[in-house]
């Protein structure tokens, strides 16, 4: 747990300190990658709460989604189709769904706990 937080901090500091300039047209890839990683992260949390969590699925999904989203955006730029919009849409919808599911699960747990407390 601590190692993962350390990794997060290290990643953030690396990202803030990086002074690499990338062309403006590639920033959309980055935003999609951010969206994909967030989606996978919340998906992992939801899976964990639903007790269907699997390491392999989470990790592979994390990297694969990022790569896929970036690749799709890349393809879209070269085909002249705004494919990154599709990626943003898909990931956005899934993000909201995941968060909604997490919220419901948490709410159910909380109300159950409350009921349990009242029963006691």
């Amino acid at each position: 747990m601590w190692i993962s937080i350390l990794g997060l901090l290290l990643g953030i500091s690396l990202g803030l300190l990086t002074d690499i300039q990338i062309p403006a047209e590639y920033t959309s890839y980055l935003s999609i990658a951010v969206l994909a990683s967030l989606d996978t992260l919340f998906g992992g949390i939801r899976a964990h709460l639903q007790q269907v969590y699997d390491d392999k699925v989470f990790v592979s999904g994390f990297f694969f989604n990022i790569a896929l989203a970036a690749g799709l955006a890349f393809l879209g730029v070269h085909l002249g189709v705004d494919l990154y919009l599709a990626a943003i849409f898909a990931f956005g919808v899934r993000l909201f769904q995941n968060i909604a599911v997490i919220r419901r699960i948490l709410l159910t747990k909380w109300s159950e706990k409350k009921k349990l407390g009242e029963a006691n």
């Binding site: 190692i3 990794g7 990643g11 990202g15 990658a33 990683s37 990022i66």
Partner: protein, 235 residues
């Protein structure tokens, strides 16, 4: 254990991507705050270049001033030096003036020669237009009576000047001048005009040839220098 390593890797990537994206978008925002940041940059750059140039110009001007001062100092030292040198310098100055290498100004006489009016008596226009011989007469008379510098229509005459009649115009050193001819001479105005007006002198002869002559003494006359020493005939 391997699980936490994998997680730390995942979070590392996540943190990196998010932070990088954040800093990148921040950067872009600050750039977009100035509409056309590049324009301002360019302006700044050009201004800097301009200032540099102006400073350089100023330096060079100062240098030029110093050099000129040095030259003047040198000349002054020559003038203030031995008597011989003073005499030589004055003589050189005078000779230069006579050669027409320096612009001169002074009082003098302006002689204007015009073609005579057309009249029925003269079938041949050659009988009343100004010829180069008339110009010669005037110039020679002026030189004889002590003119220090002479110009025809603003062009300096020097020792090797040649005046040629080419049809209706007169070429002075190859440059054509049409009538009327304004001959300016620097010298004593009284002496010059008196010599022009001698009985049976140049003015009478010119009037005899039906040429209108106007004398205008006492003007301050400015004359330009000859363009280069080459104009004086290679000396």
């Amino acid at each position: 254990m391997s699980k936490s390593i994998i997680f730390s890797l995942v979070f590392l990537v996540l943190g990196f991507i998010m932070a990088y994206s954040y800093s990148l978008s921040n950067q872009r925002e600050t750039e977009n705050d100035f509409a056309g940041a590049g324009f301002f940059e360019h302006k700044e750059q050009y201004r800097k270049e301009l200032i540099e140039q102006q400073e350089r110009n100023k330096e060079l001007r100062e240098e030029l001033g110093d050099k000129q001062e040095a030259v003047q100092e040198f000349e002054r030292s020559v003038v203030d030096g031995e008597e011989n040198y003073t005499a030589y310098a004055r003589e050189a100055e005078e000779l230069r003036r006579f050669l027409g290498l320096v612009p001169v100004k002074g009082e003098g006489l302006t002689v204007t020669l015009r073609d005579g009016d057309y009249s029925i008596d003269h079938a041949n226009p050659n009988e009343y237009i100004v010829h180069e011989s008339h110009v010669f007469q005037v110039i020679n008379e002026l030189y004889i009576s002590g003119a220090e510098a002479i110009a025809v229509n603003g062009q300096r005459i020097h020792g090797n000047s040649h005046i040629v009649c080419t049809g209706p115009v007169i070429a002075v050193d190859g440059i054509q001048h049409p009538a009327p001819f304004t001959i300016e001479a620097i010298g004593s105005p009284e002496v010059l005009s008196a010599s022009m007006q001698l009985t049976g002198g140049v003015q009478d002869q010119l009037l005899n040839d039906d040429i209108s002559v106007t004398l205008d003494p006492g003007q301050t006359i400015h004359m330009p220098a000859l363009l280069s020493e080459m104009d004086t005939g290679g000396r």
